[in-house]
């Protein structure tokens, strides 16, 4: 027992405290969002809050398990874990259960398990293993493509199960690749791609073409070397405008109507008031309810279990994707800002620890953890507050569900374990 104690001291307690804060606060909000009437038994597993309490309890078992495994195990078995995760995803096509149009669940008795939640840490392990391999050089196109393949396989499998939200999460590995040597030009391309897509949709291809032309012409005249010809500039221009046009075409013909409407609502593209009114009752309904709930919380909130919109179940899916609206309503600006600050601190802490790792595997993995948490945090809260289009992904440690909670816990605690082991790597 004495040895155990000495060992525990090496864990990064700040990370663990931030994690505990989020899990505890998350549980309280699920309690609020899911209770109906008097709460007589907190362990009543026929209620969502009762189940979540069980999930939280099992999380601690999981943590002890993860922390008691040798740190080297994760690096050594990264590929195996990744393969198991892929098999689990593939298995869904045969044995999966469809819930809300997504075939992403295994049903075990009354329990359901969502393998995509576990695929995240598995992919993070695989990516870390691949990048930290001495043979790998992220500056080369060949290795870049291989790394991309590692994330694309699970991403495509998840997309095929109709869970577009979880697919987007795999884009978070861009931050990892960039940190590990991806050329600057990719960052530039990423930013330009997003800009072109948004500009094209919002202002039309013509105005986008004009803006692109102005930028390219000015950079042509401001260039320092004469090595690039005018034709190359012209080519870039055509590619940009073509891309913007392609995005427009895809938006108009490639998307399902509800996806199209979400983007239309976000960029305020719809001008027809009748259609807008219809969208307010359909695609925008959750968002409007969610924003109203958050707004009504005011500066200090209505108090725990006292949110009138939460009690009245005005926000659909409030205990899962829209859990942050409960925080907004019941804990107000103070409580919501607190949650945001804790998330930001947690991500920064993980980043800081990642940079301090001696082994590249641990560093890449830590970066992966920070990136995945960051993308979930940004998309979920951004969506709930109406800053980005509706994308259904959970808020880590907050949203209701065992798979999600365990997936994120494993993700984080493998890193805590790796971090605790850095002294041994001297």
């Amino acid at each position: 027992m004495l040895r155990e104690n000495q060992r525990r001291l090496k864990f990064d307690w700040l990370t663990i405290i931030l994690f505990l804060l989020l899990v505890a606060f998350g549980y309280l909000n699920i309690l609020s969002a899911s209770h109906t009437g008097e709460i007589t038994n907190y362990f009543d597993t026929s209620e969502l809050y009762g189940k979540q309490l069980v999930f939280v309890g099992l999380t601690f078992v999981l943590i002890i398990l993860i922390l008691s495994v040798e740190a080297k195990f994760y690096e050594r078995f990264a590929s195996v874990i990744y393969l198991i995760a892929l098999l689990a995803l593939v298995g869904l096509f045969l044995f999966g259960k469809e819930i809300n149009g997504a075939r992403s669940w295994y049903a075990i008795g009354s329990m359901t398990l969502q393998p995509s939640e576990f695929a995240k840490f598995a992919t993070a392990l695989a990516v870390s293993k691949y990048i930290s391999d001495l043979q790998t050089n992220m500056q080369t196109i060949k290795d870049q493509l291989r790394a991309v393949a590692i994330i694309m396989i699970p991403a495509i499998l998840i997309l095929l199960q109709n869970d577009a939200g979880s697919t987007i999460v795999y884009a978070s590995f861009f931050f990892v690749f960039y940190r590990e040597g991806l050329q600057q030009v990719y960052l530039a391309i990423a930013i330009i791609t997003i800009l072109l897509a948004v500009l094209g949709l919002k202002f039309g291809v013509l105005i986008t073409a004009v803006i692109t032309a102005i930028v390219i012409t000015s950079s042509y005249f401001l260039r320092k070397t004469k090595r690039t010809s005018i034709f190359q500039y012209l080519l870039v221009f055509i590619v940009c405008v073509g891309f913007s046009y392609g995005v427009k075409l895809f938006y108009e013909h490639g998307l399902k109507e509800h996806q199209q409407n979400r983007i239309s609502l976000w960029l305020r593209l719809e001008k027809d008031p009748a259609k807008l009114e219809r969208m307010k009752k359909a695609e925008a309904y959750n968002l409007i309810q969610s924003e109203q709930a958050i707004s009504s919380g005011g500066f200090s909130g209505k108090g725990f279990l006292e949110g009138t919109r939460t009690t009245g179940k005005f926000v659909p899916e409030q205990e899962t994707d829209y859990i942050f609206s409960t925080v907004g309503e019941e804990w107000g600006f103070l409580g919501s800002s607190f949650v945001i600050i804790v998330f930001v601190l947690l991500i920064i802490r993980v980043l800081f620890l990642a940079e301090s790792q001696k082994s590249q595997f641990s560093r890449v993995y830590g970066y992966g953890v920070a990136s995945i948490l960051f993308v979930h945090f940004t998309i979920n809260i951004g969506m709930v507050m109406g800053l980005i289009p509706t994308v259904g992904i959970p808020l880590p440690f907050f949203s209701y569900g065992g798979s999600g909670l365990w997936g994120f816990t494993i993700l984080l605690f493998i890193f805590i374990k790796l971090d605790s082991n850095k002294i041994n790597e001297w």
């Binding site: 009504s296 919109r309 179940k313 945001i340 809260i381």
Partner: protein, 644 residues
């Protein structure tokens, strides 16, 4: 750089999120208010409004149920055309009305209820109630409207109407569609009569279904019923006064001098209070309000300020005795007026001369009172000091300021003092000869009929009065002591007897000798007031106002009265007759002076009032002829007015 990209992005996102939260929760949101929370349904339960009884226990105002269709625009589910048609038909409105009403409600507030179609008829309500569930965002609110048990006393009783936005912003108790007292006792006793509405907060879900009381009902309240009140008005006397005032404009205020209770408060022209009940209220009200010529919403008994004329002379007599500047036996010569040197400052009529105080009052001699008044003002070397003393005494009769009572309207009148003339003429650049009109109640002195009635009460009481008020009792409450505490004038009790004897002689042998009522000793004083209007911006004189002030009986008076009839010419012609009839009616309970009553009922001033607007030249005062109207028509109106 590579290490910093994610770090900076995380911090940036955190800042953007907190800024967004600040915008949503702090900047763009007013303080949380349960009433504005659309997740909580508010069910109001309006209590019974208090009943109003007259001093003899006769019910004057009761209630009737009323049903408003209310709308919360944000909760309205747009209706398809078939449903919209049906709904409009049920409400008896057009589709354009529907859209206009909806726009107005949305414009007021999308999330607060406002009345959509107020005051449904009972049959419309019965049909609509069945189908109301189909129309989300609409509901029926039960309220109680007034049900007048009488057709008289519109100015006394007042009315209730929907609150406007400025009332709501000042008094958060009221919500859109609530009713509030607008005039009369409904206004001055609003909180007593209204009671307190009850409220239930009900938690709703997003399908607008009730899921239970909010916080187990800890904020819910039960309605507190409004209290019944009894007012001091004698409804028979009031009805009689209104009958006498038919075809005339003016005011009558009758008080009980022993308590300050207002027995009658008549204004003419008046209207039937039932006009201001129900869906046509605002239409009828604006019609009455816009009639700027007859001005039926102007309470002439309370708001008309005029130079009181001769009745004010008795005040000067009392002040002179109190200031010891004359003796009751001092005589003054009248040469058909008062002369200052060779200049005639004021005229007079033919009577024996010289006169002492008793004859001065009984004959209403102008010269006598100018002499008396100049002695008061010139008592000190400084006319300003004299005037200030005079004003102090006059004001102690409740003149020159608001009576500060429980009536919803009033006017201060005016008693000028030294400072007033210093401002008008310059410091010390005036003397008593400048302002002799005040001696005879003309000039700068102004009073309302209720102030004159109160003045008569103070004289009848030999030096004190109770603030005139309209509340007799409130269920379970005592009335404020300000109405039960006597207010003393600055005149000593012994000075009243000679003055009262003078007023008694007005009836006995003076200007009101023809108005005697058998068996009742009345003390009174006639008055006339010159008056002018602007016609095409030319100041034009009209026939004088007829004024009469009296109290009776002479000892321990039971009634004090002031009557004021616009353009009625001399005091005893209209006002004096009406005062005598009112006094007889109140003290005896019946009228024996049938010839006098008949004279009043068959003489109209409508032609007199039409003259200035005819566009033709017209004559005034002595050169006019009185308009006589058909007795049969009077009888008919008689029956409809004195409805029991």
């Amino acid at each position: 750089m590579r290490k910093l990209l994610l770090l900076m992005t995380v911090v940036l996102v955190g800042i953007i999120f907190i800024a967004r939260l600040f915008y949503l929760q702090v900047y763009n949101t007013s303080a949380y208010n349960l009433y504005e929370d659309s997740a909580i349904k508010k069910e109001f339960n309006y209590p019974k409004r208090g009943y109003v009884y007259d001093r003899n226990g006769k019910l004057l105002v009761a209630n009737q149920p009323s049903y408003d269709v209310m709308v919360i625009p944000r909760e309205v589910v747009p209706l398809d055309s078939a449903n919209l048609n049906e709904f409009c038909n049920l409400l008896k409105i057009t589709k354009e009305d529907y859209n206009r009403k909806m726009d107005r409600a949305t414009n007021y507030s999308p999330r607060l209820p406002s009345p959509f179609v107020p005051q449904l008829s009972k049959s419309d309500y019965a049909v609509l109630q069945e189908k109301m569930r189909k129309y989300e965002g609409f509901y029926i609110q039960k309220r109680s409207l007034r049900s007048y048990q009488t057709t008289i006393g519109a100015n006394v009783l007042g009315d209730i109407g929907e609150v406007n936005r400025s009332i709501i912003s000042k008094q958060p108790y009221y919500k859109m569609g609530d009713l509030i007292g607008k005039q009369g006792i409904e206004l001055s006793y609003e909180t007593t009569l209204r009671g307190t509405k009850g409220i239930k907060f009900i938690q709703k879900d997003r399908f607008n279904k009730n899921i239970g009381p909010y916080k187990d009902g800890i904020y819910d309240t039960l309605p507190k019923p409004g209290k019944d009140i009894t007012i001091t008005i004698d409804s028979e006397l009031q009805a009689y006064g209104e009958l006498l005032m038919k075809h005339k404009r003016g005011g009558i205020v009758a008080l009980d001098p022993s308590s300050g209770e207002i027995l009658a408060m008549v204004t003419g022209p008046s209207y039937d209070p039932n006009l201001l009940v129900g869906r046509d209220r605002s239409k009828n009200f604006s019609k009455l309000y816009r009639d700027s010529i007859a001005n039926p919403t102007f309470d002439r008994g309370l708001q008309a300020q005029y130079p009181p004329g001769s009745p004010f002379k008795v005040i000067n007599a009392l002040i002179a005795l109190q200031e010891d500047v004359v003796d009751t036996n001092d005589r003054f010569t009248c040469r058909m007026g008062y002369y200052y040197g060779s200049r005639r400052l004021t005229g007079c009529h033919h009577h024996k001369s010289p006169v002492d105080m008793n004859s001065g009052i009984a004959q209403s001699c102008n010269a006598y009172f100018v002499n008396v008044y100049r002695r008061i003002v010139d008592k000190y070397d400084d006319a300003g000091k004299g005037m200030n003393t005079w004003a102090k005494h006059a004001r102690s009769f409740g003149l020159g300021n608001f009576l500060n009572n429980d009536l919803s309207v009033g006017q201060p009148g005016r008693i000028p003092d030294g400072d007033y003339y210093d401002r008008a003429y310059g410091d010390n650049r005036w003397g008593s000869t400048y302002i002799v009109s005040n001696a005879i109640g003309q000039g700068e002195v102004e009073a309302t009929p209720i102030q004159l009635a109160n003045m008569a009460a103070a004289i009848g009481n030999r030096g004190y009065y109770f603030t005139p008020h309209i509340i007799k009792s409130i269920e379970g409450e005592t009335i404020p002591s300000q109405y039960t505490t006597p207010k003393y004038t600055t005149i000593d009790k012994e000075h009243f007897e000679p003055v009262i004897q003078g007023m008694f002689d007005v009836y006995n042998k003076g200007t009101a000798a023809t108005l005697k009522v058998p068996g009742i000793d009345i003390c009174g004083k006639t008055g006339t007031a010159e008056n002018f209007v602007k016609i095409d911006s030319v100041k034009t004189q009209l026939t004088d106002h007829s004024i009469f002030v009296a109290f009776a009986p002479k000892d321990n008076p039971k009634i004090a009265i002031a009557v004021f009839v616009e353009n009625g010419y001399w005091g005893s012609r209209f006002a004096g007759r009406m005062a005598s009839l009112m006094i007889e009616k109140y003290i005896k309970g019946e009228v024996t002076l049938k010839h006098m009553e008949n004279w009043i009922l068959t003489h109209s001033l409508e032609n007199e009032y039409a003259k200035p607007y005819s566009g033709e030249p017209f004559k005034i005062n002595g050169e006019t002829t009185l308009q006589v109207i058909d007795n049969y028509a009077i009888e008919n109106q008689n029956q409809s007015t004195v409805k029991q």
